[in-house]
């Protein structure tokens, strides 16, 4: 034990309060209800409020306005003539969506495509996620990196790659003709099949990652306990693994299903002219027809469809976090 200074040695002054100028400013800000804490909250809050929440109100407003040949191409929904407030709410856009089979069909088709694609992504992704989660290190990290890697490369270019695969003189047809399995090229590009394929392909990592995160937490001892108590591998899977991985399945399914509904690039590049998904309809209304009010109505209708799946996703994620 070496010598130690006694406790009464002078304690250095706290200098944190050095700057009186800053203290003055802080006091003024506090008086108007702005301390450091609320400023820190305000920065992300105000940003998201202005650039995420208000835009939806603007879309809602526009969906109720009348299209016009003007810049911007719509009429205001209210007027003030000095004495009267004239509201001009136009529900025609929604009536139009409902009456025209093209829009209704596009909605139904989008939901079907998104649902079937999410189902296939689950069927392919689950065994992969399971295999990766049960792999020993360092193979596990390597495989996980391989799953994430395509996500870092351009989405657009990966869809483009499938064009090269699927076209009539593309890689698949060339290979099949070369081996002599077929004589005439199969028509794969510009079909609904190509759209399903493209969605499953690009969204597969979104399915695998939440499933992996869930399955990797599954303790080996639970599986051992099940087989020790007489459960065969399949029984163990259905009675232990599958029930415990439900949050991961729901999260993965929704992470594919929700964005796939509004997908534009994949039906545009891989689908045919009649592959009408709702995102593509919105794009065309906006860019080709320049009908902003109808495009807004399409967006609002799409949001309504998405509310329930988004709530399911949030619940699944909350459950996964609680575990």
């Amino acid at each position: 034990m070496t010598d130690v200074t006694p406790a009464d040695a002078p304690v250095p002054m706290r200098d944190a309060d050095r700057s009186t100028a800053w203290r003055g400013t802080a006091a003024v800000l506090r008086r108007v209800g702005l301390d450091g804490r609320s400023l820190v909250i305000a920065i992300p809050f105000v940003w998201l409020f202005v650039f995420f929440l208000i835009p939806f109100l603007v879309v809602a407003k526009l969906s109720l306005s009348e299209p016009a040949i003007a810049i911007p191409p719509y009429l205001p929904i209210w007027e003030w003539d000095g004495l009267r407030l004239i509201l001009n709410l136009n529900f025609e856009n929604f009536a139009y969506l409902w009456s025209d089979a093209l829009y209704v069909n596009a909605y139904v088709f989008s939901i079907r495509v998104a649902f079937v694609s999410a189902l296939f992504a689950l069927l392919i992704g689950y065994p992969m996620a399971y295999f990766i989660a049960r792999s020993p290190e360092p193979r596990r990290t390597l495989l996980l990196t391989l799953v994430i890697l395509p996500f870092w490369t351009s989405f657009l270019l990966r869809v483009y790659a499938w064009q090269g695969f699927l076209r009539s003189n593309g890689v698949i047809n060339n290979f099949l003709i070369w081996t002599g399995i077929i004589d005439t090229p199969l028509v794969m590009l510009q079909t609904n099949f190509a759209v399903y394929l493209g969605i499953v392909y690009t969204y597969l990592p979104f399915m695998i990652l939440p499933l992996y995160a869930n399955l990797v937490k599954l303790e080996e001892s639970l599986l051992e306990a099940s087989s020790d108590l007489g459960g065969r591998p399949l029984a163990t899977f259905f009675h232990v693994t599958l029930p415990l991985s439900t949050p991961g399945i729901i999260a993965g399914f929704m992470l594919v299903f929700i964005p796939a509904i509004g997908e534009f690039v994949i039906p545009e590049l891989l689908g045919g002219p009649d592959t009408l998904m709702i995102g593509r309809v919105l794009w065309n209304e906006f860019f080709s027809n320049r009908d902003w009010p109808v495009a807004s109505a399409v967006a609002i209708a799409m949001l309504v469809v998405l509310v329930v799946p988004i709530m399911i996703l949030r619940a699944a994620q909350a459950k996964a976090e609680a575990d």
């Binding site: 409020f49 879309v59 351009s154 591998p233």
Partner: protein
């Protein structure tokens, strides 16, 4: 056959599915022939064509600027949002903030793009800003959706962070701002880097939102690629894809190596 073998084969097929198209992109970027998918001999002429294409180079430059700026702001705002949600237990706007920060993750791009465009148009009418659309509006749009992804990454790091680290700094005389920069930021630095790279990639990759909110003269790289691809296969795009994949693979390789080293040091 054993269940394990079936799984292994399945997983291998899964990875073939993921990687075959990417590999074919690379292979055919060295194709002599204009017909992208018919092999006509080895050549690097599409790379030369690429670096001489002013449209691609110009849009790439714009995209890099947009991605760098928006990723930087997205990391700042997203980190603040994550910090606020994880460390301030109770405040009035908490529920709204937590919904606003998670919703952009799953919002279809066409909706995000359309709604932001309409906002910009309305704002211009009301307050005269932003005057016209272009890089600024794209950057704002990209910050908005990227910060949600950054927030997710940072939140998960913060939730595994021992709170007593921050308390210890405070106990030793550091004020909250000081604690944030002395302890919180250095400890979550890997998550900030990951968040930045994610935001950068998302921005560089975005076609739909940028198409909505852009204006004359501001075409990003994905917009140029899209207009080329729409007209059919283009060997130049293959060359570009190969370059991007090489950069990404290199980046991920370095990152993995760094993390391995860090993990070894920690263990």
């Amino acid at each position: 056959m054993r269940a394990g073998t079936v799984l292994l084969i399945f997983t291998i097929l899964g990875f073939v599915f993921l990687y075959a198209p990417i590999l074919s992109l690379i292979v055919f970027s060295f194709n002599e022939s204009q017909l992208v998918t018919v092999w006509g001999g080895f050549s690097t002429k599409w790379y030369s064509a690429l670096v001489e294409d002013p449209q691609i180079l110009g849009s790439a430059w714009i995209s890099l600027q947009v991605a760098t700026i928006s990723a930087t702001f997205a990391v700042m705002f997203g980190t603040l949002a994550a910090y606020v949600l994880m460390r301030f237990r109770r405040f009035r706007t908490r529920a709204v903030l937590s919904v606003m920060i998670t919703a952009p993750l799953v919002m279809p791009e066409v909706i995000t793009g359309l709604s932001l465009l309409l906002l910009f148009v309305s704002m211009e009418q009301l307050i005269g800003w932003p005057a016209g659309r272009g890089m600024t509006t794209i950057i704002i749009a990209h910050i908005t959706f990227s910060m949600a992804f950054v927030a997710v990454v940072v939140q998960s790091r913060l939730s595994s962070l021992d709170m007593s680290l921050e308390e210890a700094a405070m106990d030793l005389g550091a004020r909250p701002v000081r604690v944030f920069f002395d302890v919180t930021i250095p400890v979550i630095a890997p998550a900030l880097v990951a968040g930045w790279l994610l935001a950068f990639t998302l921005s560089l990759d975005d076609l739909v939102v940028a198409s909505f909110v852009t204006g004359p003269g501001a075409s990003t790289l994905p917009m140029v690629i899209f207009s080329k691809v729409r007209l059919g296969l283009s060997p130049e795009v293959n060359a570009l894809a190969t370059i991007i994949i090489a950069i990404v693979a290199f980046g991920v390789g370095v990152a993995t190596w760094q993390m391995r080293r860090a993990a070894r040091n920690a263990g």
